[in-house]
Symmetry: C2
Subunit: 264 residues, 2 copies
């Protein structure tokens, strides 16, 4: 089986022109089949502020109301996605920008609030299906899909969707066709044993060690959803998940940096 690299870049990298440019150059240089998934960054929040749109919060969680969905669609699927595509074209990667609505690439449904509080998160999508045949067709044409964190429900409704989960779902679906490697890249060097020491990268985490880290509360809470996504990917057929610094993409791919998540 050929290898397919799925890289997710976090919003922090998207927000930093210099870091983004450096990342995109090294991403374009990956000499094998690849897919990029990008997060949102702070531009949507700044846009909402400029336009006087109040952020709706319920129980500390941000709600995607109709106005917020409009802004994230503009910023994520328009400004960020198309600028990344244009830059990748410049660096020699034949990029094509997508939302989940395009070619029905990612079908989702509006999240239902769970009882007892049953919060309505608004236009937030939970993924039902990734169109792996479509993504594979693009890759066979040597195109490089660039996916923004917007999906659709098939009934005309766009939905704001977590980029980590999109990357995991694509990696899982593509495991039918490829040996998939999922890379979560962000501003840190990997999963840290000590959040105050940026060099305390844990090189390898398997399921047993992850349980130990969680039980001993040795893991930064903000990292848990990403690690849960990583283990879901591994359990569903993804060969390897690597978490690390977007600045060191080549090293992450060849196993010389970051945290590797794999079967025990």
């Amino acid at each position: 089986m050929n290898q397919l690299i799925i890289v997710k870049i976090s919003g922090n990298i998207v927000d930093d022109d210099h870091a983004l440019q450096h990342f995109l150059k090294s991403f374009a240089a990956i000499n094998q089949a690849k897919i990029l998934v990008h997060g949102g960054g702070k531009l949507a929040t700044r846009m909402a502020e400029t336009m006087g749109i109040q952020q709706q919060m319920v129980n500390g969680r941000r709600i995607t109301d109709a106005e917020t969905l409009k802004i994230v669609t503009m910023v994520y699927a328009g400004y960020i996605n198309k600028n990344i595509v244009a830059q990748l074209q410049q660096y020699g990667a034949n990029a094509i920008g997508l939302t989940g609505a395009d070619a029905n690439a990612i079908l989702a449904h509006k999240r239902k609030g769970k009882m007892p509080d049953a919060v309505d998160y608004g236009f937030v999508g939970d993924i039902d299906e990734v169109n792996a045949v479509f993504f594979n067709g693009l890759i066979q044409q040597l195109l490089v899909p660039v996916v923004s964190p917007i999906t659709h429900d098939g009934n005309g409704q766009l939905l704001n969707t977590n980029a980590d989960t999109i990357a995991q779902s694509i990696a899982t679906a593509m495991s039918t066709f490829y040996e998939t490697v999922l890379i979560y890249s962000f501003e840190k060097k990997g999963v840290l044993l000590n959040i105050n020491n940026p060099d305390s990268v844990i090189p390898l985490i398997d399921a047993a060690y992850y349980n130990t880290l969680k039980t001993n509360q040795q893991i930064f809470a903000g990292m848990i959803p990403k690690l849960d996504n990583a283990f879901t990917a591994i359990e569903q057929g993804v060969a390897k998940v690597i978490i690390g610094n977007a600045d060191e993409l080549a090293e992450l791919i060849n196993g010389k940096a970051g945290t590797t998540i794999q079967h025990g």
Copy 2:
């Protein structure tokens, strides 16, 4: 040769939710190969006003400065394009939204101001090349390209580009593979002999009659760039251009409404 229908909808239709929905339903129902090109509408202007961004005008022409480009990229390639794609998916057309940057679909260069005044129009693109092989590949996969009026220069720069010209360039390029029919749809019933009489549609215009109409100043000035684009298309291999009401798409295609532009 199979027929390919390229439909351009104007900004007026994009601005009107009801008219847009009606149009998209009839567009999705076209039972043959098709491409949609959409204009921008007034949302970008309203966004710029809300965000306090001044429109730059030189000699009565709007200039696309960096801030304006950012907004049109968000609105045209993000909000409008992805909402059209999601709606077409709902109506059964397997739409895929594109800018010229995606898969290097439309390569352009920044417009150079002409002497003597040499106005710098900013980030406005004049088209160099349409990637007809890529568009044909999508059509062969039964996908429906939905093109927003944003192109790129191959060096990382997005460019604001006239949607009528994009539609004409795509129709011309696709004439290698198909018998192409280009439809300019908007809020009027066609090219009018009397601008004050909405029913005074001229059914057929050839080059000789167009010259007569221009010489006698019988044609509304705002219609001339569209007609020039139409005749450029015809001269470069497009089988037929039809100008008419977006509300009557089926009638335009079967020749029962609108103005047909064809060889003399």
